[in-house]
């Protein structure tokens, strides 16, 4: 029916309209929007303040300094920020599947996972994104190369957040009520992405690269900023896109198992 190019163009226009609608929806409560985003910005800075106290006492931990942790926060919060602003449903896949809220998306002629992801905008994430950019401007390399690497780092970090949560969320297709488990994973994932992966040893290190793969955030995008080599950049990008593709395929597979439900649902 549509050629591949037309299809991509149509999906791009659809995604663009969804983002506009989401923003309009968020702006319905302007004060709440500004307060939530502002509070998140401040909240992140408080964490950095604690890290500064820590590094004041132990200036170097496993090769990491305060500067590196600040970069990690810039990448982690910034990556999470754009992902949650533009694809705000990624932490909620399990709940959407388990409560049968995919029906509306499935009845429309658009890719289901894309529709689900772009149908929500996290307001607080605007604060995370602004925080990430602000911290990078404070401590990062602001040359053109540095800025491009930061953008690539943000892209990889955001994709990792989306991919991991989509893969975890897909478990709801197969085991039913996976909301609690994925919520737990999400919380651990967010918390652990703000710790240097090098401080973990043995089983803990294995865990943060497997069960809760938060280690990838400090390994891939931060590795990219700390030692910018083309080979590593390609590998990091490949891993991020590969995981995203895996999430998308798993979701497709899961749709065959989708059981719907009778929850009364509204789009917000």
């Amino acid at each position: 029916m549509l050629t591949a190019v037309n299809r991509i163009g149509a999906n791009a226009r659809y995604v663009w309209t969804c983002w506009k609608v989401n923003l309009a929806s968020a702006m319905e409560y302007r004060l709440s929007f500004l307060l939530l985003a502002g509070m998140m910005f401040v909240n992140n800075f408080i964490w950095l303040f604690f890290w500064s106290l820590f590094f004041g006492r132990f200036p170097i931990v496993q090769g990491w300094e305060l500067h590196d942790v600040m970069l990690l926060w810039a990448i982690s919060a910034g990556g999470f920020g754009w992902a949650a602003m533009l694809f705000g449903n990624f932490p909620r896949i399990a709940s959407i599947v388990a409560t049968g809220q995919l029906d509306v998306y499935l009845s429309q002629p658009r890719p289901v996972l894309l529709s689900v992801l772009v149908s929500r905008c996290s307001v607080t994430a605007a604060g995370d994104f602004a925080f990430g950019v602000a911290v990078y401007l404070m401590v990062g390399d602001t040359s053109l190369t540095g800025a491009l690497l930061f953008v690539l780092g943000l892209l990889i970090s955001g994709l990792l957040f989306i991919a991991v949560m989509v893969i975890a969320g897909c478990s709801a297709f197969f085991i039913g009520n996976a909301e609690g488990m994925t919520q737990q994973l999400f919380n651990s994932f967010i918390a652990l992405t703000t710790y240097p992966s090098d401080i973990f040893r043995g089983l803990a290190k294995l865990a943060i690269f497997t069960i809760v793969p938060a280690g990838f955030i400090s390994y891939l995008p931060i590795g990219l900023l700390k030692s910018p080599e083309p080979g590593f950049a390609i590998l990091a990008t490949f891993v991020a896109f590969g995981l995203t593709l895996a999430g998308s395929l798993l979701f497709r597979l899961g749709l065959r198992k989708y059981a719907s439900g009778n929850t009364i649902a509204m789009r917000s």
Binding site: T17, V21, S25, E28, V104, L106, P109, S260, T263
Partner: protein
Amino acid sequence: MMALRTRGLGKTFRVKKKEAGLSGSFRSLWKPQWETKEAVRGIDLNVREGETVAFLGPNGAGKSTTIKMLTGILHPSFGEAEVLGFTPWKEREQLAYRIGTVFGQKSQLWYHLPPIDTFELIGRIYELKRDEYARRKDDLIERFELGPYLHTPVRKLSLGERMRCEIAASLLHRPKLLFMDEPTIGLDAVVKQRIRELIRERNREEGTTVFLTSHDAGDVETLCSRAVVIHHGGVLIDEPVEKMKREVLSRKNVTLKLAEDAELVDLPELEGVAWEREKREIRLAVDLKRTTIERVLGELIGRIGFTDVNVEDPPLEEIIKYIYGMRMEKEETGWAKR
């Protein structure tokens, strides 16, 4: 031409079985037990283009599951289906361009935004050309009388207003086939009637095939020409609505409006007639197996003065109740199942 065709379409779900209480929960945790529930049991259906079909049955009969399979939302466990020439679960996107869906309990409108914003998004979803979208939107706004609340956030609309917007949104892309799952649920009588008129109008003017589930007899009587009744996941009856009403239940409701000067006397004892009076109106339930309308009216003319008489079929709820009763009797007496 067929709009929809199914052969042996069915769906089973695996459901966890748990005994009551906390100990049951622990047992279930340690040794879970599963049972297979057959939600839809091999349904055969044919719906021609332009038909208006009511898909009826009690709660849990498999109506919504069937609609979800026909719209590509659910994958069936067995059987086949073709909707407008497409296999719904394999060619979901192509089919979605040609069908409309209204789920009474699942909204496609953005809760915090006015309906006009959702209309705009739907225009993009279905890739409507801008001028075509504008014309269609204006037409639906006028017909559905949406003007006064088009720019009001959905959360502030009444249920009736929201439902009108919901149906208008599902018609924006001119679907050939409209699936509706309980479209009038929770609405008052006036709004229900208006919504039925609007859907009937679309069917008449654009030839839209309508396939709806409802618990409301009025939806079926006003909108549909054919009724398919399912029970326990299988088709129980598939007949024109009029025929079903005429043949399945041999009863008529007769309403007499008494003249202003008529005496409020009691009615004579008539075989096969039960009656009740409310102010200056007498309602009779006439059993046509035991008597005829002609005989009953003949007996009454001259005895009481009335200015108007109305003979009606009984409401569909009663008919469906009767069909279920009949089925149970057949099962108990070992009659062949339909």
